[in-house]
């Protein structure tokens, strides 16, 4: 799976006085679990590791039903494309930071979109009067919107994308080391289908 080097954003970044480095020589991997059919995508570059793994709508429903959400709320959440997301500082000696608000995804309709962050969800759950224990479980199951990692640090949590099941999209993710912004693109990521592959 090739990583698109975003030369344009690099040039614009320098024009804007920012330094944006597109990931070079990155290692990316797409895997399909032979037992479950669940797909995952992994990216490694200069000590940064990034993994996303499909969560099916049924898995998302089940997870939150078991934690106090009602059927209507879980159906709403499961209507989004959900991925288990892992970011890890494997070997970057300086602090590595990121903000999910800076990440973008590109659907096959050509539109650029932002991820729906946990703060957006929390506002909606409070409006819908979801119970506080359920909200707490939700909050900590989602990937932190901002984070700073030293070597060995990592987080795992869910991220959500406003796309229907089985949609294909490209994901551009960014991170910062020593004030320098790095970015990379995962191409042809696919949302889980409504039924397990196996």
């Amino acid at each position: 799976m090739p990583v698109k080097q975003s030369l344009t954003s690099t040039i614009f970044g320098f024009i804007l006085g920012l330094s944006i480095i597109a990931a070079d020589a990155a290692e990316t991997k797409h895997e399909v679990n032979p037992e479950t059919g669940v797909q995952s995508w992994e990216f490694h570059d200069q000590g940064v590791a990034f993994t996303i793994m499909q969560i099916t709508p049924d898995q998302a429903r089940g997870f939150f039903l078991a934690r106090g959400f009602d059927r209507q709320a879980v159906d709403y959440y499961a209507s989004y494309c959900v991925f288990m997301t892992i970011v890890r500082n494997e070997a970057v000696p300086e602090s590595l930071s990121y903000n999910l608000a800076d990440w973008r995804f590109y659907g096959k309709d050509g539109k650029t979109r932002k991820l729906k962050l946990k703060e957006d969800w929390l506002k909606e759950w409070r409006k819908r009067k979801v119970t506080e224990p359920a909200i707490i479980a939700f909050e900590w199951s989602q990937h932190p919107s901002t984070q700073t990692f030293e070597v060995g640090d990592w987080n795992q949590g869910m991220t959500t994308y406003a796309l229907p099941p089985e949609s294909l999209f490209d994901l551009k993710f960014r991170w910062k080391v020593n004030g320098v912004i790095h970015e990379a693109m995962l191409k042809d990521v696919q949302c889980a289908g409504t039924t397990p592959a196996h």
Binding site: T56, R61, G62, F63, I86, E90, I136, Q156
Partner: protein, 192 residues
Amino acid sequence: MKRCSKMFSVPALRLLTSVFTGCLVVLMLPATQGLAAEKTPVQALIEVAARPQAPDFLLEDVDGKKRRLSDLRGKVVLVNFWATWCPPCRHEMPSIERLSHILKDADFAILAVNVAENLETVFSFTGTLDSTPTFPIVFDTDSRVLKAWPVRGLPTTFILDKQGRVAYRAVGGREFDDPAILAQIRGLMEAR
């Protein structure tokens, strides 16, 4: 089959299937953290240079006994924030238990702070472990304690020095009985 459909309506069966799938996803997810974990040999705690005083708390353990963090002053203390639905939390728990055995005769204590779950849920999880945790698990039912600490994701672990100051932290799962981590903890125990 007929009897089954009498007992459960179709929507109820769907609901049960979803809840069952939800339980499966928690069991399945450790495999996802394994994906990245096997590529990460780094097992170290991050030094907190400023050593801020740890926020105190008073929480109930599984026996209903109240545990106050500041009562452990004079010992090196590992404070682990966790939940049963968090795959890396589940994964690292046996290593915390091994650590507690290694340091059982030392001035060392562990408090595992469970976030917003109940006794039943925690017991169901600890019952699945090869070795049931012997260290205290306390319940932060409304996540108020968690929010007083600099935690953004689970698990996050802090190691406090004998003065109750935060000396090290670890964001994400670790193998706490790893020699590198053990050396860091022992270093704190030897310090005055």
